[in-house]
């Protein structure tokens, strides 16, 4: 790490590769979601890059690294919970505001809902979440590559602009423009698709 702080790119590349198993171990301990592991590894590497000036070569490297990995794992855990909550609340509000043709329709809907067991409710919610995610993914695939990358990094992975710039190779200014354009285009596509 000392060599990396001095600008030795080869040593830095080797270091980043060597720390991956340690980061994965921390991530597994903190955040049980296997699907988030790679994301946590990448975000930890980005944070290591961003705060590499804070490492003191007189002190052991592992506590410094594991503190960063733990923090990024906790962030991922919180994000996962937030996404799950959003999916559930979006589903709830969808049910609450869904167009019902009249009293009979509403009663039928209430009865139908009452018939659902909790397992079915959970399964339906999950299916709805998956469907929305698939729709969004399909729309995002239609975005130009730079806009999609910018949106994924800044809005979905919640990276800082500096981290997203490092990850995507775009400048901070270009990222801001691309995120703005991507959102605008997505909004238009949503409206067009009804």
């Amino acid at each position: 790490m000392r060599a990396a702080q001095d600008g030795d790119r080869r040593a830095y590349e080797r270091l980043l590769r060597e720390v991956i198993p340690v980061v994965r171990a921390v991530a597994r301990r903190v955040c049980a979601e296997r699907r988030d592991l790679e994301e946590i590894v990448q975000e930890t590497l980005l944070t290591v890059h961003r705060v590499r000036h804070t490492y003191d070569p007189e002190r052991p490297f592992t506590p410094w690294l594991t503190a960063i990995a733990s923090r990024r794992s906790i962030d991922a855990l919180r994000r996962r919970r937030r996404i799950t909550r959003h999916e559930l609340s979006a589903d709830e509000s969808g049910r609450g505001t869904g167009a019902q043709p009249g009293v009979e329709g509403r009663e039928a809907a209430v009865e139908a809902e009452a018939d659902e067991t909790s397992v079915e409710v959970a399964a339906n919610k999950e299916m709805e979440g998956v469907r929305v995610a698939e729709e969004l993914e399909a729309l995002m695939r239609r975005l130009p590559a730079r806009q999609r990358e910018a949106l994924e990094a800044v809005k979905l992975k919640e990276m800082s602009l500096a981290e997203a710039a490092a990850a995507s190779g775009q400048s901070v200014g270009a990222l801001k423009v691309n995120v703005h354009r991507a959102l605008k285009r997505l909004r238009r596509m949503f409206q067009a698709d009804g």
Binding site: V41, H49, H53, A67, I68, A166
Partner: protein, 210 residues
């Protein structure tokens, strides 16, 4: 993006960096500058005779020392925790002096009761809040250089340190002993500074390049 690509990208963009000096050294630097500026302010404007007279009471002396130790320990703790890998136990460092500060002030309230003027106590509130702003501002400017990854303890401890330092400086301009209203307003000012900085911690501690 693939992790391999990310590593290649990060290594390709690597530039040498200037290492951050140890947190304790940086905390000492901040405290030294604040001490020097406060000394100038106190020598120029404070009534040191009144201060000396007040320090004749062991309780007031203890309150004053506890305030200073709270400020110093909270500042050291916030600098330590701004760097990854430091023990979270640093956050406990100012707890004892803070409790001693509260206890000594509380004892003063018991002795002095509700006496004193609310208007003078309001001045104390304005003093602590007003002096805390430049102290906290300069402190955050130094703390953000570490780009803290856990901002909550750094902001809360930094705010406690800045507010306690302001409360310590106030002791030199405080011609009367603490009363219930006075203590309530001191605590409201300290709590207000901590609350504002804690709520605004992300934009305040984010580096300009983030």
């Amino acid at each position: 993006m693939d992790t391999e690509d990310l590593i290649t990208n990060l290594a390709g963009r690597l530039e040498p960096v200037r290492r951050l000096r140890p947190p304790a050294v940086r905390a000492l630097e901040w405290l030294a500058v604040v001490a020097a500026l406060s000394a100038l302010l106190i020598l120029r404007y404070a009534d040191l005779q009144v201060f000396r007279h007040r320090m004749g009471s062991p309780r007031v002396l203890l309150e004053c020392i506890a305030t200073l130790v709270t400020a110093t320990t909270a500042i050291f703790a916030s600098f330590e925790l701004s760097v990854p890998g430091r023990s979270p136990r640093w956050a406990a460092l100012p707890v004892v002096p803070f409790l001693v500060w509260l206890a000594a002030s509380g004892l003063g309230c018991l002795q002095n009761g509700l006496g004193g003027s609310a208007r003078e106590s309001v001045h104390c509130f304005v003093f602590i809040a007003g002096v805390s702003v430049p102290l906290a501002g300069s402190l955050l400017a130094m703390l953000r250089r570490a780009r803290p990854i856990a901002t909550l303890p750094v902001a809360a401890l930094g705010a406690l340190g800045a507010a306690a330092a302001a409360a310590f400086i106030l002791e030199f301009f405080h011609p009367f002993d603490v009363t219930v209203i006075d203590l309530a307003l001191h605590l409201a000012a300290v709590g207000g500074v901590i609350a504002v900085l804690t709520v605004l911690r992300r934009p305040l501690l984010a580096s300009a390049s983030d």
